[in-house]
């Protein structure tokens, strides 16, 4: 009971700090702007192909979310432990009856709340605008809801990664640098390496057996795979995603990958945080 109220207090103060420091506003603005841009600059061909605007935009927004959502999640969380160590407040917090697990979980929930608000407003506004302009379509609405829910899930994975790295480095500058690297590798370089592998392999063992596992192993790719597979053949997709749809897995496996990432990052963060000397 006390533990829950402490977790709530920690989550609330993290949310308040994010709000005061304008992170809430910034994250929401970024998502609103990009989602609206995709919705109205990318939905031109919708009528011609007979696909509704919501579904089509959901497909392109899924691809964009792979870049944006992890970036925002890492921006929210990179200083959460390291910053408190540098300011000396972590020692204070850990001297109170708050257990370390409560502190970590409270921080996670606080950042997740910010991201939830940003995604709900950002994608909600864009979705609402699309419905207002192009009309409502149940399948499209479902795709949109699925996109919002899984984007939040993807964000949760990267918030956990951000908190873990923040606890591991203990310095704000190092954590920020390391997380830029994490983002580049997981979100950008990983896909490029996969594409290079596909080109070099030219339909061999790598393409048929290794590639599908590698796609699932990356949280961003798993997120995109799940969303695009769920859209079925409705939306035109290309590149890695086109190949990914021929994978020998049910789409839900991709969600399992996200769950595993979240658990692993959470456990690593907890292990590190337990042995931390503030």
């Amino acid at each position: 009971m006390n533990g829950l109220s402490r977790i709530a207090a920690i989550a609330a103060i993290e949310f308040r700090l994010s709000a005061r420091n304008r992170w809430v506003l910034l994250a929401t603005l970024i998502l609103v702007l990009f989602a609206l841009a995709l919705a109205f600059l990318g939905s031109g061909p919708a009528g011609e192909r007979g696909v509704d605007a919501l579904t089509l935009t959901a497909a392109s927004l899924a691809t964009l979310s792979v870049y944006l959502v992890p970036l925002i999640a890492l921006l929210l969380s990179y200083d959460t432990i390291a910053g408190e160590i540098e300011r000396g407040t972590l020692a204070l917090v850990l001297a109170t009856p708050a257990a370390r697990g409560e502190v970590l979980f409270g921080k996670f929930l606080g950042h997740l709340a910010v991201l939830t608000l940003a995604i709900a407003i950002g994608y909600g506004v864009a979705g609402g605008a699309l419905v207002a302009v192009h009309g409502y379509d149940p399948a499209g609405a479902l795709a949109w809801a699925r996109l919002m829910a899984t984007a939040l899930f993807l964000g949760a994975v990267f918030i956990a990664i951000g908190i873990t790295v923040s606890a591991m480095t203990g310095r704000v500058g190092t954590a920020a640098a390391l997380l830029v690297g994490v983002w580049l590798v997981l979100v950008v370089l990983y896909d490029l390496a996969l594409l290079a592998g596909l080109v070099l392999d030219d339909g061999g063992i790598f393409t048929t057996h290794v590639f599908p596992i590698l796609v699932l192993a990356n949280p961003g790719d798993a997120f995109r795979l799940f969303n695009l597979a769920a859209l079925e053949a409705a939306a035109p997709v290309a590149g890695i995603d086109g190949l990914a749809r021929t994978l020998p897995f049910p789409a839900a496996t991709a969600l399992a990958s996200l769950v595993i990432w979240l658990l692993l990052a959470g456990c690593a963060g907890m292990l590190r945080f337990r042995s931390l000397h503030p």
Binding site: R6, R16, T89, A91, A95, T96, H277
Partner: protein, 304 residues
């Protein structure tokens, strides 16, 4: 009467790899008592606090916080901590910081916010911490530490960087808190700073406790001389020295070292030469001399 110490440390050793941060330190603080922990930077003061909080695992020795092991839930409900150079989030107000820590400690926030009045920053409760002066931030830190009436207060250099007036007020607050029954362990660089504001002092040098006791006892045990300086009427130090003895200081002064017991006799002798003596200045050993004496002992012991 509870004369069981709230904090009891026996034979505590803490090491970081091969570096011995604390060796065989024993201390105890009873309820209502103020103990000042003195030492240079790196003497092990902060390490000792962190060991008491349960953040560091001792290599040897035993710590008891109100009968509980450090870091346990029972110990953490008993103890409050004010770290050195605390920086609360600048974007939060003082009231928000206090409310937050009250919730972490399971205390009613309204009662905790009244502590802002106690430490004298109630007017600034709804201003952001970023606008606070250093003294106000330290007061906010103290208010935070007072939430829930802790039995043991750990204050790590609470007055470093404060101006003399703020420092005096700060110690006034600590007096009140101790008078209400809290055990207070605070650290400082300088003996002059803690002066009459603590009951006992302990001096740490390179992780060893080299002295512990009441300040007056430590000063008399050190047997530092009182210095008596005599100034001649004319620029005639030579005559003065010929008649009285002592060390020549400059053209018109001589200086004597004497024990407290010999002081009156010496002064009487000086007074009998009032024809040539213009002025007498008596300097009892300065607090920093006492501190320097024990620090020197510790350093010598280390070298031996």
């Amino acid at each position: 009467m509870s004369h069981d110490p709230v904090l009891d440390i026996a034979g505590l050793s803490v090491a970081f790899g091969s570096l011995k941060a604390l060796s065989d330190v024993s201390l105890s603080v009873a309820a209502g008592e103020r103990l000042a922990l003195l030492g240079h930077n790196g003497a092990g003061k902060s390490t000792l606090f962190k060991a008491v909080l349960g953040f560091l695992k001792p290599e040897a020795g035993r710590i008891s916080v109100a009968g509980a092991a450090p870091g346990t839930a029972a110990a953490r409900r008993t103890v409050s901590y004010l770290p050195e150079a605390i920086a609360f989030p600048r974007a939060l107000t003082g009231a928000e910081v206090i409310t937050y820590f009250a919730k972490l400690k399971g205390e009613p926030p309204a009662k905790a916010k009244a502590l802002l009045q106690t430490v004298g920053i109630a007017d600034a409760a709804h201003r952001r911490v970023g606008t606070y002066s250093k003294g106000m931030r330290q007061r906010l830190g103290l208010a935070q530490a007072l939430i829930g009436r802790p039995s043991l207060l750990l204050l790590d250099e609470p007055t470093s960087g404060l101006d003399p007036i703020s420092r005096g007020e700060f110690y006034g607050l600590i007096d009140t808190i101790a008078a209400e029954g809290a055990a207070v362990l605070l650290s400082s660089h300088s003996l002059t700073e803690v002066e009459a504001r603590t009951d006992r002092i302990a001096i740490l040098v390179k992780g060893r406790r080299v002295a512990e006791g009441r300040l007056a006892d430590l000063a008399s045990a050190a047997a530092l001389p009182t210095v008596v300086r005599v100034k001649a009427k004319a620029i005639d130090g030579a005559t003065l020295q010929a008649r009285l003895g002592g060390r020549r200081l400059n053209g018109r002064s001589v200086e004597f070292d004497c024990t407290p017991g010999d002081k009156l006799a010496l002064l009487a002798r000086i007074a009998s030469h009032s024809d040539i003596v213009a002025d007498v200045e008596v300097s009892p050993p300065h607090l920093d001399d006492v501190y320097r004496y024990y620090s020197g002992l510790g350093a010598a012991g280390e070298a031996a």
